[in-house]
């Protein structure tokens, strides 16, 4: 399924001739694991009060979210071709009022974890046992508000909140390390009171295992530090900051799709 979603991402962005392929591809295995293995959800009832919540706080990577929702049956796949167009249900950054299955409007970085924290507090207050999953980028954690949320979640013992850090080491301008170092991430989250797990964010078995374990941690929020490769699955995009927010040409897209399909067959 991850390969199918990677193909959807390439096709969407190539059709729109705009969007963010690099960070969509780095988060693909995480998002796929959540929507196809881990989360409690019902595509026929996107407003089901007891559903797990998912927030892709790095909202610019929404092609991966849209593809997962479409493949999971939240809306017709035909919509994927309308990304970023006028009158589309698929906005350039996710809009909860326009897209079935989008649990929160995001796009301005640094806000999704706080939103997830609010959802987790509500769950505890209402006695609902849903889990809240938030994916943030490693560049995104440069936002101070991330650390406000990081400080708050352990205060309220939010075991129903998990953050997955998509550690792809690149951001818009260049390497995270050169723009503004965020390391050591595991130590930072641990120091704020989170249980920290480090995984290879492209090892599907490890991703699923870490997510399932996070759900089972009752009184402490979990931070999963997922080491990923920006542009994963497309050789000419992998590890290249220039593919943060650039669309492939038709030929480049064709080559990307071939690579992803060949890799999936192997």
């Amino acid at each position: 399924m991850a390969a199918v979603i990677r193909c959807d991402i390439i096709e969407m962005i190539a059709t729109a001739q705009a969007g963010h392929p690099g960070g969509s591809l780095s988060a693909t295995d995480i998002v796929t694991a959540l929507y196809f293995r881990v989360m409690r959800l019902d595509p026929a009832r996107p407003d089901w009060p007891e559903r797990d919540r998912f927030i892709l706080s790095k909202g610019h990577a929404c092609p991966v979210w849209y593809a997962a929702l479409a493949e999971r049956g939240y809306f017709d796949k035909a919509h994927l071709g309308t990304l970023r167009r006028l009158n589309s249900i698929l906005q350039g950054h996710p809009d909860m009022r326009k897209t079935p299955g989008i649990d929160m409007t995001v796009g301005s970085l640094g806000q999704g974890l706080s939103v997830g924290l609010g959802m987790a507090l509500s769950g505890k207050l209402k006695g609902l046992d849903y889990h809240v999953w938030v994916v943030v980028g490693d560049g995104e954690v440069q936002e101070g508000s991330i650390w406000e949320a990081a400080m708050a979640a352990p205060k309220w013992r939010l075991g129903n909140l998990t953050v997955i850090i998509d550690r792809n080491r690149l951001q818009n301008d260049t390497c995270v390390r050169d723009v503004m170092p965020v390391a050591p991430l595991a130590d930072k989250w641990r120091a704020f009171g989170w249980r920290v797990v480090e995984i290879d964010g492209h090892d599907m078995a490890a991703v699923v295992e870490a997510l399932e374990a996070a759900r089972a941690c009752p009184d402490q929020p979990v931070a999963i530090l997922a080491h990923t490769v920006k542009g994963k699955g497309v050789s000419y995009m992998e590890g290249r900051a220039e593919w943060h927010g650039k669309a492939p040409s038709a030929e480049q897209a064709e080559r990307a799709l071939e690579e992803i399909r060949r890799c999936a067959c192997e």
């Binding site: 009060p49 009022r97 301005s108 806000q111 706080s114 609010g118 959802m119 509500s122 406000e148 309220w156």
Partner: protein, 344 residues
């Protein structure tokens, strides 16, 4: 004197007596509207189990500690972290709770403005924002704590509802009306006390300005703490033979265009009064309405393009040209301009 009593609407009789005696601002009794909010939210919490209160380490200042004591499981203190509080409020609202995020105007509308815009107003989430220390009512704290832009900033955001009550009655009703309104509502509150003006007949409705004093020569449109100044100004002008209408425009957005345009047509001259910056607030909103529909002589009273300074709130009003006598002088000017237009 008896005749003039008929010109007031919903004003308490003891307040009318003080207005006529010129003693409202020295002897009027009342409280900071932040405390009216605290009382209202406590009552609301008892009636509505979905109401939760979020604080940012100023719960003692807003007396939302009352709510925290009564409903500890529905009270959340986020510490000095307004951005986290605002986005968490948005998250809570997605699940059906009605969060009232409380704090100081400068920090809620500026430090956390991105969250207020993108996580609350863009998705139209049901978050209520309660800001104390709005305008220059945080006088002695100085400009860092004087929220003189909150009305302008909140008004600029799409999907916003912006309300600023003038006293206990309006603030309590606004707090309750916000819970009934599906979507974001901003409540602008004072740090310093303002006189209680209204009796229980006050017809509070979101988006409906209230004519509280009849008059035919000019209209003063006022908001929040400046409503009492406007009433005093009108009484000063009555002594000079001018009949001045006063409108309490408690909802800045959506603006009650019908009531304001009717006043513009019937009185032909208008002054706005706010302790907000004159850029983008009530004065701007009224000017935009008039210039597109019924241009008349108009003047704006408010904070000019400046920061003020530390000092007692009434003294700042006086020094920076926002006291009742400044409002009265502005009315004098617009009435003169109106008479020149007629002569022409």
């Amino acid at each position: 004197m008896l005749v003039s009593k008929g010109i007031y609407h919903h004003i308490r009789s003891d307040v009318i007596a003080m207005l006529e005696a010129g003693t409202l601002l020295t002897e009027g009794r009342g409280q900071a509207t932040r405390y009216a909010y605290a009382d209202a939210i406590l009552e609301l919490g008892a009636r509505n189990p979905d109401v939760v209160v979020l604080d940012a380490d100023v719960s003692k200042s807003l007396k939302t500690t009352q709510f925290a004591e009564a409903f500890p499981e529905r009270s959340f203190n986020f510490g000095i972290a307004e951005q986290n509080m605002m986005a968490a409020a948005a998250g809570m609202a997605t699940t059906g709770l009605i969060p009232y995020a409380s704090g100081y105007a400068v920090f809620l509308t500026m430090r956390a403005l991105d969250q207020v815009r993108n996580s609350i107003h863009y998705p139209r989430l049901n978050v209520k924002i309660a800001s104390s220390h709005s305008g220059i009512t945080a006088g002695p704290d100085g400009p860092t704590h004087q929220g003189q832009e909150d009305l302008s900033l909140m008004r600029a955001i799409a999907n916003s509802i912006v309300i600023a009550g003038a006293d206990t009655v309006t603030t309590k009703r606004a707090t309750w009306a916000a819970a009934e309104w599906e979507g974001p509502v901003y409540l602008s509150l004072t740090r310093d006390p303002v006189p209680d003006l209204y009796d229980e007949s006050y017809p509070f409705e979101i988006g409906r300005a209230v004519v509280i004093r009849e008059g035919s020569d000019a209209t003063i449109v006022a908001i929040r703490d400046m409503v009492s100044q406007a009433l005093v100004a009108a009484e000063l002008l009555a002594g000079r033979g001018l009949s001045v209408r006063v409108i309490d425009c408690h909802t800045l957005k959506p603006l009650d265009e019908a009531t304001l345009l009717q006043a513009a047509v019937e009185t032909g001259a208008m002054v706005t009064a706010e302790s907000n910056t004159i850029i983008g607030g009530l004065g701007s909103a009224v000017a935009e309405l008039l210039v597109e529909n019924h241009p008349i002589p108009m003047q704006r009273i408010g904070v000019r393009d400046t920061f003020t300074e530390s000092g007692p709130y009434p003294q700042i009003l006086e020094k920076y040209g926002m006291s009742a006598r400044h409002i009265a002088a502005a009315v004098g000017k617009v009435v003169e301009r109106k008479s020149l237009q007629v002569a022409r």
